[in-house]
């Protein structure tokens, strides 16, 4: 076994261990189940409400969009975990281990992606039962899988970049604000066609919109396409935009991560800890 392959295997196991841990402690269990439960409750009450005069049900429209949004939020999870791991020394530990950064990153991708998939199922399975108006065939499942995979490749590296650039937990909090803004204009809760044209354009720059669109195309009956921009599922464009994000992220992430890792040292970790303690006291 080469050192590199040992690190890849260790990273895979690391991801599984972290995934298991995230389903075995209180606070994280709440976030795994509470939000899905609230989401499903809201969808349940929306299930008979029509969207405009289209004859579509709002609950049915929202469910796939929410799945898309949750998957896109892996970006935020990635970014926050990276910042946290830098603050407590996890990253430095990885740096002190032979090929440890490789193992660390693989582990992180496995645990974040794995946790997203589990969360997705937690919403999707009961959602299919209690929210009517969804139609999934073999082609739909296929779309769901490729949109999800491509979406993860598009968003996780960007999340890693954000996590490397914003170094403190507080700065991470600030990322949330624009993120909420993007969610608001990404057609998750209301179709994009209901927005002014310029917002519609901004919304279409985000991977969130395209993951939501992809999910809707996978899970909704064909008639639902009428509320979309240009009244098309635009699979080609979905692949194109997500692909662009993926390429940008995969090009940028190694550079930014390497720069960040190079700067890690014991005193850097100690400084941040001290700063955090000081600002916590104030």
């Amino acid at each position: 076994m080469t050192p590199r392959s040992a690190a890849i295997r260790a990273g895979w196991r690391r991801g599984l261990i972290e995934l298991r841990q995230s389903f075995m402690n209180g606070p994280e269990l709440v976030s795994h189940f509470l939000w899905p439960a609230l989401t499903l409750a809201a969808l349940f009450f929306l299930r008979h409400r029509d969207f405009g005069s289209s004859g579509l049900l709002l609950g049915a429209l929202a469910l796939p969009s929410i799945l898309g949004m949750n998957a896109a939020m892996g970006m935020v999870a990635m970014s926050q975990q990276l910042t946290g791991d830098r603050e407590d020394g996890t990253l430095l530990r990885a740096k002190a281990t032979p090929h440890g950064m490789l193992g660390y990153l693989i582990g992180k991708v496995v645990s974040v992606a794995g946790s997203l998939l589990v969360d997705l199922l937690i919403v999707l399975i009961p959602g299919l039962i209690i929210v009517g108006g969804l139609a999934v065939d073999a082609a739909g499942w296929f779309t769901l899988i490729w949109v999800l995979l491509l979406g993860l490749i598009a968003t996780l590296p960007i999340g890693a970049v954000l996590g490397s650039v914003f170094t403190t937990a507080r700065a991470q909090g600030l990322i949330q604000l624009p993120m909420l803004g993007f969610i608001a204009i990404s057609g998750i809760f209301y179709p994009l066609t209901a927005l002014p044209t310029w917002l519609e354009w901004i919304g279409q720059l985000t991977p969130i919109y395209w993951m939501g669109l992809g999910m809707r195309s996978a899970l909704l009956p064909d008639e639902a396409v009428v509320v979309e921009v240009t009244q098309s599922w635009r699979h080609l464009e979905t692949a194109g935009v997500l692909g662009l994000w993926a390429v940008a992220g995969l090009l940028l992430a190694p550079i930014v991560l390497r720069r960040m890792a190079r700067r890690e040292s014991g005193s850097a970790v100690a400084d941040r800890r001290e700063r955090a303690l000081r600002s916590a006291v104030r």
């Binding site: 076994m1 080469t2 050192p3 040992a6 690190a7 295997r9 260790a10 196991r13 690391r14 261990i17 972290e18 841990q21 402690n25 791991d85 407590d88 020394g89 996890t90 430095l92 530990r93 740096k95 002190a96 281990t97 032979p98 090929h99 440890g100 193992g103 890690e264 040292s265 014991g266 005193s267 970790v269 100690a270 800890r273």
Partner: protein, 293 residues
């Protein structure tokens, strides 16, 4: 055995305008415990971080295990163990689980002579954490946590181990146990250890050799007893004549006392000579340096 494990020659470090290390040069020999002793802000951590390959130096030559740490690769990384003071990572992991995990990165580096990684159970026993194997790391006490950090530092059986201020915040018992552990590592396993501390007592207890670093300069190097004798630490002489007490600091106490007898003869009472201690030597050095700077 005389091969230099660490060679530092004319090391300089500058942060902006501030010169943190001035022409630092020293060598660590295989199997020794070398202590970098100095007050806070002397440049100890900067030095050790440069040797660990975590920080780029401004000038000078540095070789650790035959390689410049600034250009070292992952196989060099596998030969070096690092223990820092500010790690709080992996709180959700269990002790044995993390050790097993981090050890697995070292499997390919095993040789016919050296088993790598150190088997988890054996290692936990060696650092006194056998009972805590299934505990979550966040539930460990400060001393247990640090012993885990040491266990992680040596799980790949490094040839060289860096310990940065290893006992900060320890209670006396934890500190003593820790000192025993470090002593065992050096004697039983032949690990070369480079440690920093601002605690003189710790340095003299652990070190084969001590280097005193103040304001970015190495001002003295030697075994604890060499340091005490080589540097003109002043002995303290106390006596009384006619019920009145006197006290005098002198470099040559024997000669001074001979003079006292010659002068006072029978009248000399309550004679007391206290030899310069390592602490006096250290304080004299540190103060002298601060005045000079």
């Amino acid at each position: 055995m005389s091969k230099g494990i660490v060679t530092v020659d004319g090391l300089q470090m500058q942060y902006g305008e501030v010169q943190v290390l001035h022409e630092v040069s020293f060598e660590a020999r295989a199997g020794e415990v070398l202590t970098l002793l100095g007050p806070n802000g002397a440049g100890k951590s900067t030095t050790i971080e440069i040797l660990e390959g975590f920080r780029l130096r401004s000038a000078g030559r540095v070789e650790v295990l035959g390689t410049d740490p600034a250009e070292a690769d992952e196989s060099w990384r596998a030969r070096v163990g690092i223990v820092l003071q500010s790690w709080r990572d992996h709180g959700n992991w269990r002790v044995g689980e993390l050790l097993q995990h981090l050890g697995s990165y070292y499997t390919p580096y095993a040789t016919a002579g050296v088993v790598r990684p150190w088997p988890t159970g054996e290692l936990l026993a060696a650092v006194g954490l056998a009972e805590s194997a299934d505990h979550k790391i966040r539930t460990l006490s400060g001393g247990q946590r640090r012993r885990l950090d040491v266990a992680i530092g040596i799980v790949g059986r490094p040839e060289l181990l860096f310990l940065d201020e290893p006992t900060t915040g320890f209670d006396p018992e934890a500190r003593r146990e820790f000192h025993e552990l470090v002593g065992r590592l050096a004697t039983e396993y032949g690990t070369t250890i480079l440690l920093t501390t601002h605690d003189l007592d710790e340095a003299s207890r652990l070190a084969d050799r001590i280097m005193i670093l103040t304001s970015g300069r190495i001002v003295a190097v030697g075994t604890p007893s060499e340091l005490t004798t080589a540097i003109a630490g002043e002995d303290e002489v106390r006596w009384s004549v006619g019920g009145q007490g006197f006290r005098k600091r002198t470099a040559d106490s024997t000669e001074f006392v001979r003079g006292l007898f010659a002068q006072y003869g029978e009248e000399l009472r309550e004679l007391e000579v206290r030899r310069a201690s390592l602490e006096d030597t250290y304080l004299a050095l540190v103060r002298g340096q601060e005045v000079a700077a």
